[in-house]
């Protein structure tokens, strides 16, 4: 199993509340190759994002991010932009699940969009449940994800975990 590097540092891209998965990958692109899909991620909310996003950048989105369709390709496309991790005030249930399952680190901070601006320098520690805005000095501590989900991230996603660890099912609640 891989080693989880749970700490991410990068530049903030801030997005509003209630963004549906269709804004991450529109229905008309779902059958296209990923290098085409990533050119359109979140373009309706910020056309600069897919053009200017840099490896390690951090997306901070408002309440109910990734709502509506549970298509995993939405989380895969966001990961494929090269961002380090994604933070939301509250993720939609299926998007939260898909993030861990496809190996995109994520953390919920209930007032995240109130304490960041575009371009702020952020530090996020998934395993500790720690968030710091280096630009403003504001910090937050939250409960970290369950050990099972952290193992999933460390393995690089659910399929890697279940294909490499024969005890994945019996150890899920530990």
């Amino acid at each position: 199993m891989g080693e989880l590097v749970p700490r991410y540092e990068g530049r903030c891209w801030k997005f509003p509340a209630n963004i549906p998965t269709d804004a991450l990958v529109k229905s008309r692109y779902v059958f296209d190759p990923m290098d085409e899909i990533v050119k359109h991620v979140l373009e309706d909310y910020n056309p600069r994002f897919p053009l200017e996003v840099q490896p390690g950048d951090i997306v901070v989105a408002g309440h109910h991010f990734g709502q509506s369709s549970g298509r995993a390709i939405a989380a895969k496309a966001l990961k494929a932009t090269g961002i380090g991790c994604v933070v939301s005030n509250a993720f939609s249930r299926t998007f939260f699940r898909n993030c861990f399952e496809i190996g995109l680190p994520s953390l919920e901070i209930p007032d995240a969009t109130d304490i960041v601006e575009d371009g702020d320098h952020l530090v996020v520690d998934i395993a500790q449940g720690f968030f710091r805005n280096e630009t403003s000095g504001v910090e937050r501590h939250v409960a970290p994800a369950s050990p099972f989900l952290l193992r999933m991230l460390a393995a690089g996603g659910l399929i890697n975990l279940t294909q490499s660890d024969p005890d994945w099912a019996s150890t899920a609640n530990t």
Binding site: N18, V30, Q67, E101, F148, L158, I159, T162, N173
Partner: protein, 373 residues
């Protein structure tokens, strides 16, 4: 334990589970539509590739493309057909109906079962007391297909208690939409919702259907109605309808109960852009419309065509309006034929479409131009 906890405990081989536990449970049914089946099958072939141990648990329904508009989409359906044949899974091809309606009508979502699917409206099967949840494709490809299992976090429960009598001119759909306005979109993320109270128990299964189908808009993980005699009678009449897995919750007190009187609900409309934008119909009367459709995950029921025919029989729709009628399944269309509803709504100016999920994602029924509604 409540119903969800009892189903998850049994399916994970434990005496009891509680909210917050992570369990790995045996899954009874995986249902996918044309889009999710393609993406999931591709992941499965690339990453796993072995034979499925339980192919009969996997069902695919082509409901987004009853007649694919492009070669690319036709090719996706052909790849799906080849995949289901190779893997031995069940397929309902174009024209069968809406994914969830087809599953229910064919006795493939039963009380006490665990039903999963990529479609965000999968929780609708809680209408008969199944634990029904939308998962992502990697759960389906990585654990449901190769192991017959999935991981779940046991959700906290909120009871939604509905009492009182409807005002004349209101229907259970008005109550369901009004409820989204009352609770708020994305207001109960990760929770299980139990719909209960005398109003709910007075409804048939296809009207109960209208409540858990809205879980995705509320943010809930799942929703259900405790199975009762109405459930038993409905399930026994289905092909393959079985009650041997049926469970009921123990009736333990629930901390978070939200009580509503349906007697105050007005005829209600959910306007664009999302289901949470609900208004009393009085506020919107006179708004010009060009496009109307009875269809989708919640709207192609026999009940919808009965209501429409009651209003439109012997009358004509406005010449500026296009009324599309999309039965949720072949069974719905057959019953609509027998009851004379097909002729009534045809004469009124409506256009019948093949059983499918209608204009969902505008894959198939044509696009609307800017400014039309």
């Amino acid at each position: 334990m409540n119903l969800v906890e009892k189903i998850l405990a049994r399916a994970s081989g434990q005496e009891s589970v509680k909210a917050g536990d992570v369990v790995v449970a045996n899954v009874d049914r995986l249902v996918m539509h044309d889009l999710s089946a393609y993406l999931t099958g591709k992941v499965y072939d690339e990453r796993i590739g072995k034979d499925l141990p339980y192919p009969d648990r996997v069902v695919t329904v082509f409901d987004h493309h009853f007649s694919p508009p492009t070669e690319q989409q036709a090719d996706v359906l052909n790849r799906n057909r080849a995949w289901t044949k190779k893997r031995g899974t069940q397929l309902f091809d174009c024209g069968s109906g809406n994914i969830h309606n087809v599953l229910m009508q064919n006795g493939l979502a039963l009380p006490g079962q665990i039903v999963v699917g990529s479609d965000s409206h999968t929780p609708v099967h809680g209408a008969v007391g199944a634990f029904a949840v939308a998962l992502g494709n990697d759960s389906h490809a990585g654990t449901v297909m190769p192991f017959g299992k999935a991981w779940f976090r046991v959700p906290e429960l909120i009871q939604i208690e509905l009492t009182g009598e409807l005002q004349p001119g209101t229907t259970p759909r008005d109550v369901a939409l009004w409820l989204v306005g009352q609770l708020g979109e994305g207001s109960v993320i990760y929770k299980a919702l139990e719909f209960t109270g005398p109003f709910i128990t007075s409804l048939g299964i296809w009207d109960r259907w209208l409540f858990p189908v809205l879980c995705v808009d509320l943010g809930a993980k799942c929703g259900y109605v405790e199975p009762d005699d109405v459930t038993r009678e409905f399930i026994e009449a289905l092909p393959g309808g079985r009650l041997d897995l049926l469970l009921n919750g123990d009736g333990d007190p629930v901390e978070d109960v939200r009580r509503f009187d349906v007697g105050v609900v007005p005829p209600t409309v959910a306007a664009p852009p999302t289901v949470g934008n609900v208004h009393p119909v009085d506020e919107l009367v006179g708004t010009p419309l060009q496009w109307a459709e009875l269809g989708g995950h919640g709207g192609g029921r026999l009940e919808d065509f009965l209501l429409a025919a009651r209003v439109l029989r012997g009358r004509r729709i406005h010449p500026d309006v296009k009324l599309n009628l999309v039965p949720g399944s072949r069974e719905v269309f057959r019953q609509a034929l027998e009851l004379g509803l097909v002729a009534d709504l045809h004469e009124a100016g409506g256009t019948w479409f093949p059983p499918s999920t209608g204009s969902n994602q505008t894959a198939n029924m044509g696009a609307m131009s800017e400014g039309r509604r």
